[in-house]
Symmetry: C2
Subunit: 169 residues, 2 copies
DNA sequence: AATGACATGTAAAGAGTTACATGATTCA
DNA sequence: TGAATCATGTAACTCTTTACATGTCATT
C-alpha cells in the first residue's frame, strides 16, 4: 500500500505517465525508496482498474505514445485514508538487514573496527548523495530530513560502538 | 541471506530445533525481526540440504520428536562470510514504510500534529517494550542499543517536525 | 551504423506470509 | 472436556524483482 500511496501522492501534484514516474523515482528517490519499473506499471494498472486513477493516451511528435494518469475522486479519498494510516502508524523498519551487529562479538575487535569503518564510509556516502539531491527535489524535503536523521543515528551508533571496541583493545 | 545469518548465529551458540528457534524469535526479537515459523522451517531445510547445518532427531517423554540442528564447519565458514558482508554493508532500511511523511503538507497542521502524536506514542510503546526485554536477552544487547538509537532518532524527528508545525499554527 | 533515450509492457522466478493440516500431551 | 502447549510441516497466495520483448527516434 505504501507504493500506491507514493504514486497517488505524485499524481496528486501533477498528471504523469509511467516512464516519467520511473525517471523521477530513479533520480530523486532511488536512495530511499525501492520501487521498480514493472511494479510501477502494474500498480498503475490495478489502480486504474479500481478507479483510483484515470488515463488518457498522449503523443508528442513521433515518440511512442504515453499513457498519462490522473488521480480521480475515489483515488483522492484513498490517498487521504492511506496517508493518515501511514503517518499514524510507525512500522519499525525491519532490523533484519542489520542482524550482523548482533554477532559482532564473533569477530576480534580489531577486525570489527575495520568493518564498522567500512560501513561508516557507506553511510557517509549516502549522506553526501542526499546533500547533492537536496537542491533539486521539491516537496520531498521532509523525506530528506527524515532520512538524514536516521543516517545520523546510524553514524552516532557506529562511532559509539567503535569507541567501545577501541577502548577494550 | 540475513535470515540465514540469524539462524546460523543462533545455532552457533547452541543446538536448537525449529520450534525453539521460533519461540526465541517471538519472545525476544519479534519487535525488531520479521521471520515467521514456516520460513524458519524452510530455511533450516535448505541449509541442511546445503550442508550448512546437520540434524538429529530427539524425543523427550511422549512429546513430539524434534529435529535438532547444529552448525557444521561449512556452515561456520558461511556464517563468517555472511557476517562480514552484513556488517560492512549498510543497507538503508527502505523508507517506503514511512513515505507518508512526504505528503504531510497535504494535511492541515492541526491534524498533522495529532497524527504525529499518535505515531509518537507507538514509538514510545516500542521503546518501553525494548526496555522490558533488556534484562532477558543475552548476547543481543548490541541489537538493543542499535534499535534504541534509531527509535530515539525517530522521536527526535517527530518532535522537531511537530514543533515546526506548531510554530506555524 | 550503433548506442542510448523514449515508452510500454509480459513472463518467470523468488522470497515470505497466511492459512491450513495433524496429532499427542498437559493443565484448568 | 476443552484449551493451550509442543512439534512439524505443506499449500496457496501475494508482492516484487529480474529478465525478456518490442520498436521508434535522436545523437555520435
Amino acid at each position: 500500500m505504501e507504493r500506491k500511496l507514493l504514486l497517488l501522492g505524485m499524481l496528486r501534484k501533477q498528471e504523469m505517465h509511467g516512464y516519467q514516474i520511473n525517471e523521477f523515482i530513479d533520480a530523486h528517490l532511488g536512495i530511499s525508496v525501492q520501487l521498480k519499473k514493472p511494479t510501477v506499471y502494474k500498480l498503475l494498472g490495478t489502480m486504474e482498474d479500481d478507479g483510483w486513477i484515470s488515463s488518457r493516451e498522449e503523443q508528442e511528435g513521433n515518440y511512442p505514445p504515453r499513457r498519462v494518469y490522473a488521480i480521480t475522486e475515489v483515488g483522492e479519498s484513498s490517498f487521504q485514508r492511506l496517508l493518515r494510516d501511514n503517518i499514524a502508524a510507525y512500522q519499525p523498519s525491519s532490523y533484519l538487514g542489520n542482524i550482523g551487529i548482533v554477532f559482532l562479538d564473533a569477530l576480534d575487535s580489531e577486525e570489527a573496527i575495520i568493518l564498522l569503518a567500512e560501513r561508516r564510509q557507506k553511510v557517509m556516502g549516502l549522506v553526501r548523495e542526499l546533500n547533492n539531491h537536496e537542491e533539486l527535489v521539491e516537496g520531498f524535503s521532509m523525506m530528506l530530513s527524515y532520512h538524514h536523521q536516521h543516517l545520523n543515528a546510524e553514524m552516532d551508533w557506529l562511532d559509539e560502538v567503535t569507541d567501545q571496541l577501541s577502548s577494550i583493545h
